[in-house]
Amino acid sequence: MDAPLTWIGRNIPRLEDPALVRGEGRFVADIAVGSRAVVFLRSPVAAGVIKAIEKPELPPGALIITGEDVATLKPIVPRLARFNYVPIEQPILPRTRVHYVGQPVAAIVAATQREAEDIADQIFLDIEPEEAVVDLDLAAAPGAPIVHPMAPTNTIVEGRIRTPGLEAAFAGATVVELDIRSRRQNASPMETRGGHAAYDRASGRVSLHASVQMPHMLRTGITDCIGMPEADLRVVAPDVGGGFGQKMSLFPEYVLLVWLARRYRSTFAWIEDRRENLIASAHSRDQHHKVRAAFDDQGVMRGLDVEILANIGAFSCYPTTCGVEPLMALAEYAGPYKVAEYGAHARGITTNTAVMAPYRGVSRPVISFALERLMEVAAKRLGLDPIELRRRNLVTQFPHRTPTNMMLDEASYLETMEKAVEVAGLPAFRAEQAAAHAQGRYLGIGFSVINERTGYGTPAFAARSMEITPGYERVEICMTPSGEVEARIGASPHGQGLRTALAQIIAEETGVDVARIRIIHGDTDRTPYGWGTFASRSLVISGGASKLAAAKLAVKLKRAAAVLLQGEESQVRLEGGMALLPGGASISLDAIARTVYHSAGPISEKIGYDLNEAATYDPEGTFSNACHVAVVEVDTETGGTKILRYIVVEDAGRLINPMIVDGQVQGGVAQGIGNALLEEIIYDADGNILTGSFADFIPPTMAEIPPIEVHHLATLTGASVLEAKGVGEGGAIAAPAAVINAICDALEPFGIQLFDMPATPQRVRAAIRTAEETSP
């Protein structure tokens, strides 16, 4: 059997998949089958005072838990170490007031979910409604109803930056102003939230299996709220059916489940339904930006000044805090462009709505929507081609320091765009577009150039002044006495194929076949403390730590081989499960492992008594980048948009498993297309959600998503020990701008410019109607 020359860069079919295609995955609802069920009674009003919770007669074994019963539980209080941040307390269950529709008010326990739901229906919940404030702009306006008394302007977090020359940059310049609106979204993983808390009477410990992205953080957060020893809680993320950021946060439901398990020394499960998920899990991207940009007569952007409002909902999410959206927007607004002078004022505004939490890309889909709309509108004002305008403004010299002090490492902003223009066949498209227009059809093409900050460790999070500063990852690697490799990681993948990618990295270093490598993750009893999987970080950081740990293991194996083969350590090569010397002497790694553990004598002097190694990696971060192109046809009768072609030219540096990278990009693009065209959580003025099912909040299907072509460039950077950059979010970041730019290009004959996403058929039709009414 020929050993492969390299494991890196190969499309290894995923190690995760055989169980999943057989239906043998273990998701939390599978573990919960047969357990006593917990159902949450949720507030039907957006703001009000709890007057009474009248309980019905309960069948044996059933329970109703209210805020009074859990008064000893500490609230969730995420903190930023900033003077302009107001910490607000999120109760596990409220005793006096409710703050949004969907807030859990009571927990009902019964033998089955059906019975618990019946009991919930019989509870008389008496809440005296108060005036709610739902809309972002209304909440930010003077005199608005106040959501939390400690934040009298409804501003929970605020940030400002202003470079000294900003005003001068605008003097005499061509000034372009945009009003950008992004509507509220729900990440909508296919698996909802859920947890299963089991009490072990022998040890007094609780095992919580939960559909989460950050099991270690959750453990700390839950035990802080309960005031129990952290060591008495084990958190396990089993198979997790997608997260996209929604499953990062600590939710009251999980605290309550663990409390129940300890209080009643029993096992309880809560599996969220889709309506709850849409209403009460976490939302995102409800933002309003006012953008002013100054261009000189050469089309060079001299200044950028933005006013950012983010609706953070009723409470601040833990651990990222509600700063995650507004402060990221403030820090990363310049994107891939050179911005000499910069000003930003960002505010997180609290409202009587569900809690905002990170969602794939966080603020960057909105930022890139704003910047890429800006390029189009400014080009028109300046009489320049929009591609040419981007050429004049993209960063081309690296490293590049942004106005907010981020260092952009080596990347290919210009090159990906030029390649995308070429792949898209822009001149040919323009001819096709004109021919179609002659037949009354409206085709358009849209571009979007983005960078994506990935794989950032504690330095980046510290800059955000988070009390809890995530970032590093640790990998503990071990060769068993039988020669398999186990790697225990702090990251917590949930669909990204990380087990496969890390196995490839470890195989590359150690010469052990990927089939004999086990990646152990998502279990606080078995893995080192780590931050989980989010923010396009795991391949870079956990992968980097895997490489470093595996390299140390390889040193040990070579040293042992040198002893056993009586050769030079520096000449030992590890390949195909063997340690090889140039002269042909060899020994299997299995034999080395047995010898180390079972015949320790002579070798122990050189390498000790085990084959365990570990490494921690905490990088500054590295920026991947991409240019996306959408080609669309807009039906001017219905306002509907059909995407005819979608092209991505991306640069993620060295690809470990290109098939997985393409999958990440394609999945992100589909979410971005959903964000651009369809998905919108809608509240009425009283704070009731009108989009409580997938028939109302509409993720795209195969009918809406065209084949997504992915092309690669590879800029290798020293900012990552693997020379790999993250790719988790880029698809979602770039797609809304590309799609809506394409719609505007298609509607150019009407002079329509859209600044509100999603560009639903209703919005597009309204714009066409307005254009038709105002044109002669």
């Binding site: 998701f27 698996e191 394609q666």
Partner: protein
């Protein structure tokens, strides 16, 4: 508060199954809770997402929208019945090889719907594939690799037809 139960007898993946169920129990819940077949996943329980798709008497069905008692005497097929022992079905293998899944939660529903489609007499074109499979939601893959996987399986099974030229 003990609800009256009804006995349901059906076959699931060729095995006789008998369960005493409350009348309001869905077929999906019966499969998961009574038959121990947790491969059928519940993504929305509104009949929209298709994660719970199974095959009942030769037709694809949202098992969240069908009562267990309606399956009396039925022939039910679920994802657990697709593989022949250790050997994956061509469609399962294609999903693996073409990276047609990421988190894997929606996968059983897609596999069952596509299995049904591939068993129909009419050939599979890209139009038909997209039309049929647009019944189900996937949030991870962006669908590109699901189309590739089903296409590859259809070709392997001799079910593929190139679309009529546009």
């Amino acid at each position: 508060m003990s609800e009256p139960k009804t006995t349901v007898r059906c076959t699931v993946n060729g095995q006789a199954v008998q369960a005493d169920v409350v009348p309001r129990m869905s077929l999906a819940d019966m499969l998961r809770e009574e038959a121990g077949l947790t491969g059928t996943h519940l993504g929305c329980e509104h009949g929209v997402c298709g994660a719970c798709t199974i095959i009942v008497n030769g037709a694809p069905v949202r098992s969240c929208l069908m009562f267990a008692v309606q399956a009396e005497g039925a022939e039910v097929r679920t994802v657990e019945g697709l593989a022949d022992g250790e050997t994956l079905s061509p469609l399962q293998r294609a999903f693996w090889e073409k990276h047609g899944l990421q988190c894997g939660f929606c996968t059983p529903g897609f596999l069952m719907l596509a299995t049904w489609m591939l068993e129909q007499p009419e050939p599979v074109t890209e139009e038909r594939l997209r039309h049929v499979l647009s019944s189900n939601l996937c949030r991870c893959t962006g669908y590109t690799n699901i189309v590739r996987a089903v296409t590859a399986a259809a070709k392997e099974m001799g079910k593929w037809a190139e679309s009529a030229a546009a």
